[in-house]
């Protein structure tokens, strides 16, 4: 091994067997460990030092086999073929060893030094499963390290095994016997591949070629020969080659397990199945589901109130300090009106986000999230969706950005796209400050909860309608059936739950700190310029003057340009400016309106803004206009961050489509709401 070279170590294993947890143990990376299959959807890397050597760790997405079925498995398969790591850690679940060893069977032939991390030894012991690790290591021809990743046990032994393997480069001596027909075909192809220089053993390449991986063929003739051989084989086997090969891997795993695993005959109390009797019960399951969602929402929206209050005081204090410290003028206005007010509005909302992700973390880590998808699948299926679609939709109530990313847990492009396209209708947390601002400004307290709930429900209803229309329009045929593993129930670990919470809060803050601050300052600029000489020399912070100056600003002009478009909905240019700024982030609507209405020093900016809104003839005595506006804000294109993420996942065409169709939907629905209000005689 050359000194100074970074050794690349990849971790591979089935979803939910502790891969991400092991990754964290090795690298100390701040990363979420969840209990939901497919939490690791992206390639994650980290670095650690051991014995003076630097190692780079790659956490591969969870995969059941190297015959790709989902996007995650494709990533893992391609990585192993194209970017050979120096060492491969195959993490397996000791409580269900046979199934996990099937993947190992596909890994031993890859020509990469392999170490088997035998995880969840504690749970296996509790369930009366005994594994002869030494025997397993001997039969598999690789080092085997028993461990408990959740408690960070066995990590040192694994580090040592990886280091030794990197030194020796020893390959496994075991190989899967693919049966007479396939073995002959492999030999035939191999004989024509001899002499080709490649890291991957010729046997594996020959098999890959038989399976139709054209990249492994050196010439056309060979590819053709492989195709012919495959057709011949499949006729003989009465099966597809993949399925047959997988069957042989299964046999390989079965043989290993029979030799190395003993089950105690004593029947054990299975807590997971006892709990599932109730939690996935057709009736009780739904009751519990509703209850857990209710608790989640109570936690997020009620428990955060005191924290929000404290933050509010802090922002006011900061604003006071700035106003006192700086002389009257442009800079003071920028800092106090643009920066502090903009970001202040964002911070107010931080407690909500943290509590939401605390709840989601607990749901995921405990294993309940998969049950939620299970009990919801029957309903979701009839709505043209997948049980798994529920998770991105639920996450969508927190923030649309991770929700769009979470669609990767779905297996087919159809399900991913449809779910991602309707996720923006789930009312994200950033929309909440806008709702509360308007609802508490225009409606009696008794109505607050009902109106707020109605917006969330409307979003869900529109999403369901959209899912069906989209499904019919674009994806008539390929509906993939639900097929998922339900992880055992576990007590969530404080560490991973808090980590998730901090990560999400940090992401939100980063977004707030950059995008929102930018948007807020940009809006302030648009609102403050062009300025006439008098205003520059004698900047008056009296609302009246600021407003008269505002009427002349770029923002007002921009708003007037868009006004004809929103006029049919009953909005004016001030609202149009707010909506445009909502593109930066929906919560920015509030801070923009503050600038637009020239809200200044007061006990609370929000209260002052509410007074201004109530005084505005557009809304005065016409609460229904405010509600129409909220419907529009609920449904129109979400923030720029969502557009960016969507573009990365689905490309330009679908991003453009998403942007246009959400906004059109918003416009139509807002018009409907306005008409309904008009028919019902509400003030419009």
């Amino acid at each position: 091994m050359v000194e100074g070279k970074v050794i690349r170590v990849a971790i591979i294993g089935n979803p939910n067997c502790g891969k991400t947890c092991l990754f964290n143990n090795l690298t100390g990376a701040h990363q979420h460990v969840g209990n939901w299959p497919g939490v690791t959807v992206e390639k994650k890397t980290g670095v650690y030092e051991y014995g003076g050597q630097t190692y780079e760790v790659i956490d591969l997405p969870g995969t059941y086999s190297l015959l790709p079925y989902s996007a995650e498995e494709e990533i893992a398969e391609r990585f192993l073929y194209d970017e050979a790591p120096d060492v491969l850690i195959n993490i397996v679940d000791a409580t269900n060893l046979e199934r996990h060893l099937m993947l190992s069977g596909q890994l031993v032939g890859l020509g990469i030094p392999l170490v088997l991390a035998l995880n969840m030894m504690d749970e296996a012991e509790q369930q009366g499963v005994r594994i002869d690790a030494a025997q397993l290591g001997q039969m598999l021809g690789v080092p085997v390290v028993p461990m408990i990743a959740r408690r960070n046990k066995g990590t040192a032994a694994l580090l040592e095994a990886v280091a030794r393997l990197a030194q020796s480069g020893a390959l496994s001596t075991a190989e899967v016997n693919y049966g007479p027909g396939v073995e002959e075909a492999i030999k035939e192809i191999s004989s024509r591949m001899e002499g080709e220089a490649s890291r991957i053993p010729v046997r594996e390449r020959a098999l890959a070629l038989l399976r139709g991986r054209a990249a492994c063929a050196s010439d056309e003739g060979l590819l053709e020969q492989a195709g012919a051989l495959r057709a011949q084989l499949e006729r003989r086997l009465h099966d597809t080659l993949e399925n047959y090969v997988l069957g042989r891997c299964y046999g390989f795993a079965h043989g290993l397990a029979r030799m190395c695993v003993t089950h105690s005959t004593q029947a054990r109390f299975n807590i997971t199945e006892k709990l599932d009797d109730y939690l996935t019960h057709p009736v009780l399951g739904l009751v519990f589901f509703a209850l857990s969602m209710w608790v989640t929402f109570e936690l997020v929206f009620a428990a955060s109130a005191p924290m929000t209050y404290v933050l509010e005081l802090g922002v006011e204090g900061l604003r006071g300090v700035i106003s006192a410290a700086l002389p009257q003028g442009l800079w003071r206005s920028l800092l106090a009106d643009g920066v502090v007010m903009g970001v202040g509005g964002v911070l107010m909302f931080l407690p909500n986000i943290m509590l939401l992700f605390l709840a989601i973390g607990v749901l995921e880590d405990s294993g309940y999230m998969a049950r939620a998808a299970f009990v919801m699948d029957g309903i979701m299926h009839r709505l043209g969706l997948h049980g798994k679609s529920f998770i991105p939709m639920l996450v969508g109530f927190g923030c649309t950005v991770p929700a769009v990313m979470a669609t990767r847990t779905l297996d087919t492009r159809r399900d991913r796209l449809i779910t991602a396209l309707i996720v923006p209708f789930m009312s994200c947390g950033a929309r909440l400050p806008v709702y509360t601002l308007f609802i508490s400004a225009f409606f009696a307290p008794a109505w607050h909860a009902t109106l707020l709930l109605s917006l969330y429900v409307l979003g869900i209803v529109v999403a369901i309608g959209a899912a069906n229309v989209l499904g019919l329009m674009f994806f008539r045929k390929d509906f993939s059936p639900l097929l998922m593993e339900l992880p055992p129930y576990r007590l969530p670990t404080l560490r991973s739950v808090v980590m998730l919470m901090w990560r999400r809060a940090w992401m939100y803050l980063k977004k707030a700190g950059t995008l929102l601050l930018g948007a807020s300052v940009a809006m302030w600029l648009l609102c403050s310029f062009p300025r006439d000489g008098a205003a520059l020399a004698d900047d008056d912070t009296q609302a009246g003057v600021t407003r008269s100056q505002f009427e002349n600003s770029y923002a007002a002009r921009l708003g007037r340009t868009f006004e004809p478009l929103v006029r049919p909905l009953g909005f004016d240019w001030k609202v149009a400016v707010g909506l445009v700024s909502g593109l930066a982030a929906k919560e920015a609507v509030v801070s923009t309106l503050m600038v637009v209405y020239g809200v200044e020093e007061s006990a609370s900016g929000r209260d002052a803004l509410q007074d201004e809104l109530r005084a505005d003839p557009l809304f005065a005595g016409k609460p229904w206009v405010a509600y129409t506006l909220l419907v529009f804000i609920l449904l129109y294109v979400p923030c720029m961050a969502v557009i960016v993420v969507f573009y990365r996942e689905f490309g330009a065409w679908w991003t453009a489509f998403m942007t246009v169709y959400t906004t059109l939907t918003a416009w139509c629905m807002a018009l409907c709401v306005r008409v309904i209000g008009w028919l019902a005689g509400a003030g419009v």
């Binding site: 399925n243 997988l246 599932d276 998808a373 049980g387 059936p481 593993e485």
Partner: protein, 222 residues
Amino acid sequence: MKAGEQAERKLSTAQEDYLETLLVLGAEQGGGVTLTELAGRLGISAASASDVVHRLQDAGLVERAPRGLIWLTAAGAARAERVAARHRMIKRFFTDVLRVPQEIAEDDACRAEHALHPETCARLNDFLEHLDADALEKDNTVALTLLRKGQSGTLVRIAGGHAVRIRLAGLGMRPGVHVRVLQNSGHAPVMVRVGNARVAIGRGLATRLHIALDPAQEEQHG
């Protein structure tokens, strides 16, 4: 042939039922059928039956002999035979593959035979012909969806879907594996224990998993 196919498609549900009934009655009575007999078997009034018979007459599928007896023409008999064959095929699919009780299968086949596109019928026919008749009769498997909570058995066969078979195999669901049903109700997916893992399978897919019940349970639950 082309023209014939078009003519076949034009027949309404009622017309097909008439042809089928005429075929059955003709076989039972060995000759022509009166309008009253036909109407009686179909459960409608003679007046309304007459209308449809006229139209079938125009289509050249039936003829009315003196004394008002109705006969199927050669073309009509062939057509009726095809309708009846389709009925039997659909019913067989319901009873043999889906294991639907006889009466329900009969009722549903009556309705479905008119609704299915000829293409679907052709595929269904192919499917049934290629089905190993022995396998259906002997191995005594049932669809996973028919197992109740707590029942267990061996997965014998997975019908269809190469990709889905690969995924099922990844989750440990391969022919020969032993499964126990943990939840199965309503519209929710079926939850099974396989090995030491719990797997949720959508109902559509679950009907394609053929299970041989454990002997002890067959006795227990009949």
